[in-house]
Amino acid sequence: MAATKEQIKTLEDKARRMRIDILKTLAGCGSGHTGGSLSATDIVAALYFYKMKYDPNKPQWKDRDSFILSKGHAAPLLYTALAHAGFFEHTELCTLRKLGSRLQGHPDSKYLPGIEISTGSLGQGLSVANGIALAHKLDKSPSRVYALLGDGELQEGQIWEAAMTAAHYKLDNLCALVDNNGLQIDGPVAKVMGVEPITDKWRAFGWEVFDISGHNMAEITAALDRAETVKGKPTMIVCRTVKGKGSSVFEGKVEFHGTTPSKEELEIALKELAEAKC
């Protein structure tokens, strides 16, 4: 059941190529969230190209697995994943944030097939994921629901309301992941409003919790596999990540939360990502 070495290698290369597309898209657009898109790239690559079942030709396919990007500002990452998955042409990525584009600044389900729900205002995605998971339970559907949260987002009270609901209704068809990159707009999460100990909090709320590196594809795929075996409670995968992962230009730099690379910065980053090809 575990991912093979070959699969891991393919996924790593997929994530590398997604990072290149994310950066080109953001640099071309001139505004958007770089750091939090790059920190979660490996996680989203594993979801879309290892774990989830979906049909890009039938986005509303009843038996699909669902992905909710609760940290909606990582929209460039989601758009890149959807383009790679075949929901739309890669060429559309360059329309990001432009007037008339389906690729809104934050994901908008009204326009773009493959997006389950519009997000952007933080703290709301886990509740939505719960609702889908409840419906699957009612329908006795084997489909699963995934939600990606930011660590700063855990400061929102609604997250903890949703944490209670998921445990109360024993939503073992739900797997949430935290992109724990440790930085938010105003600075380190620990300084702005501490959220640790994250794993203890989710355990106390009745969740199965895995604590992994969010950049180790073997760990990510193994955790996603294990989550499917958990019965009677939801799973939280706390992914320890580096904000801006993939290039020395952005890694660990809070200023790249909501800004995009200059032409020169893009060149350096693309060079580093090209060299990272194994």
Partner: protein, 313 residues
Amino acid sequence: MTQKVATRDAYGDALVNLGKKRDDVVVLDADLSGSTKTAKFAKVFPERFFNIGIAEQDMMGTAAGLAIAGKLPFVSTFAVFATGRAWEQIRQSICYPNMNVKVVASHAGVTVGEDGGSHQSVEDIAVMRVIPNMTVIVPADGVETQQAIDAVAEYKGPCYVRVGRNKTPVLFNADYQFKIGKAHVFHEGKDAAIIATGIMVAEALVARDMLKAEGIDAGVINMSTIKPLDTGAVLSAAKRCGAIVTAEEHSIIGGLGGAVAETLAESTPVPLVRIGVKDTFGTSGDSDGLLKHYGLSAGDIAAAVKEVIKKKR
């Protein structure tokens, strides 16, 4: 003696009927199911009822998720919590993505009574009306409530339906046909038209009788859909009567009175007097006493009609 039914009771019955007809109906409540009457549905369809606890924000998002997966969620709690505590969740997770979620809020207005101002919603119509994609309905009686619930179930998109706590007169026969966005004209009138919504429709009908005894012919229009507003009904009443009184158990700011004022000002400016809560919070008391205290009784409406007639040129 007129039959009296609380619109929240009619809502609970309508949900049960709807649940029998449609498997996709699910109901969510935030620990107030006994009061909102969703408990009636929960009793018949326990597997399709989700108590989310005292967590209104989470409840709205959960409803959106259920809608994504093809369910038809009805979400209930008191109006003040549904539209106040969870306003942004209604905006972001329900209206912005245009989700097929029905928010039916009870205990609206000052007639909540003894619980006091913290629980008396006088802003909900205004804050729901302003959100794009939202339809806003305030039924006038039990019959209209049942029909409105069936209508919003058929309609695809977010809806807000406001129901009340107390028993109020039944105004419609079973053959009445509610339509979203369509006003019901009880009396056309000649001297002035009262455009009322919710429990104030019954008060308006009493006011009409009071005025009739004094030789004044006041029209009465039930504006049960606040958004989209039946502007045709507003404008034809303005042209016919030349003066309008609005009546709502809600702030005079942003609700029915606001919507009618906007419509009149842009095309047919005629004298207008708004009956409603005058930019103040509610307070504890018995509901009849509160209606008088806030100037929402039939007598107040009748006085407003006389006032607005004097403003006619």
